[in-house]
């Protein structure tokens, strides 16, 4: 929250409501996707990707930071109803840090990548929401679990298909939103 002038009431409230949205998505039951039959998907990280695509890099990262802060203060908003300081000592703490930087990369990349907006959004969500998130999450897991990096990576690969589906969903949802609210 640097620079008072740059962060007006409108941005502040949008950041707060997106942080609330990420939290609310952590509490809804998993969605069932028509694409991958019967695969339940926690929608929380979808909210993180959407924050980057819709709010942009800076505000998206602030929304995720605010979400993590509220979780740290004790709100049970992490998917599965977890909250409090404990989550930052768990094995997936690196992924939480990855969210913060990943969302910034998503917001920065999406308008700069070539191609149709929905393809650019998908690519940005893959690079930022999966690439950057894993870049911090996997070494974090290896560090906390005292594991060689390769083994930690092997343990994380199971989440990759679900994350790819989420990146696609985020890109599609952001496109539908852009159509519903042109010139937002």
């Amino acid at each position: 929250m640097r620079d008072e002038a740059a962060l007006g009431t409108r941005s502040l409230v949008r950041i707060a409501l997106f942080a609330a949205l990420i939290g609310a998505l952590g509490l809804v039951p998993p969605l069932y996707l028509p694409i991958v039959a019967g695969l339940p998907i926690s929608v929380q990280s979808l909210g993180v990707m959407l924050a980057g695509l819709i709010l942009g890099g800076r505000d998206g990262a602030l929304a995720v930071a605010l979400f993590l802060l509220v979780v740290a203060l004790g709100a049970p908003l992490l998917s599965g109803g977890r909250g409090g300081l404990g989550v930052f000592f768990g094995p997936t703490a690196g992924f939480l840090l990855g969210f913060l930087l990943g969302v910034y990369v998503i917001g920065w990349l999406a308008p700069r990548l070539p191609g149709p907006p929905v393809v650019a959004a998908f690519a940005a969500a893959v690079i930022g929401g999966i690439g950057v998130v894993y870049l911090f999450g996997v070494p974090g897991f290896a560090l906390i679990a005292h594991l060689p990096l390769s083994k930690a990576l092997a343990g994380s690969v199971v989440f990759l298909p679900g994350d790819l589906v989420k990146a696609l969903l985020a890109a599609l949802a952001a496109r539908s939103l852009a159509r519903a609210r042109p010139g937002r």
Partner: protein, 217 residues
């Protein structure tokens, strides 16, 4: 109120938030080099006793840690695999898993016994020296309050959309719900921002001075 805080009057509850946070930080540093599974299991037992002393509702919170189980198990298995399934490797795996569980339980103990507002106050005290660099504790406090207030609002908005979907379709709710929900969230954000500005929140000073006749843009 949506919070992990458990009201109570235990000695742990009476400790100031700052002291508990510092103790947590200290313990996490102390535990970092601990490698003995026996020592860690003993510490875990002590922490579990502290939960038991806080009462049944604190013990019930342990059920929330269930999602951690598979991850910790995976961790032990990966560790054993990395060490070619030797006894020492399995032991090291258990030590790591125990240490993580211990830290998570200790941190949750702080959350359990400290009201959210006390945490916020402790945070504001830490941030106060940074005020001169443009960090605004007042805005941060408002943002936190907005998140806490709007999670239930957004949740019920989402549920309403799910119900409307179920009324019209036999299929399970899916992606089609997301864009409308997002649009609704952004509309809501704009309304709240207008309402805040109408009440003079966007003013540069904390309190509007009589000489400040500037209207909101």
């Amino acid at each position: 109120m949506m919070s992990s805080y458990l009201p109570g009057h235990s000695p742990l509850h009476r400790l100031p938030a700052g002291a508990k946070l510092l103790a947590l930080a200290g313990l996490s540093l102390l535990l970092l080099p601990a490698d003995s599974a026996l020592l860690l299991a003993g510490a875990l037992l002590a922490v579990l006793l502290a939960y038991a002393a806080l009462g049944r509702r604190a013990l019930a919170r342990l059920a929330l840690l269930r999602p951690l189980g598979p991850v910790l198990l995976l961790m032990v298995l990966l560790q054993a695999w990395a060490g070619d399934w030797s006894r020492a490797a399995v032991g090291a795996g258990f030590a790591v898993a125990l240490r993580i569980l211990l830290m998570v339980l200790l941190a949750d103990l702080v959350t359990l016994s400290t009201p959210m507002q006390d945490m916020m106050d402790a945070l504001e005290r830490v941030l106060r020296p940074f005020e001169r660099f443009g960090v605004a504790p007042r805005k941060l406090a408002l943002a936190v309050a907005l998140v806490v207030r709007f999670v239930p609002v957004l949740l019920s908005a989402w549920r309403a959309r799910e119900e409307a979907w179920r009324a019209r379709s036999t299929r399970r709710p899916a992606l089609a719900l997301v864009p409308g929900f997002l649009a609704q969230t952004l509309r809501l954000a704009d309304h709240v921002a207008d309402a805040l500005d109408a009440r003079g929140f966007g003013r540069p000073a904390d309190r509007p001075s009589p000489s400040d006749k500037r209207t909101m843009p």
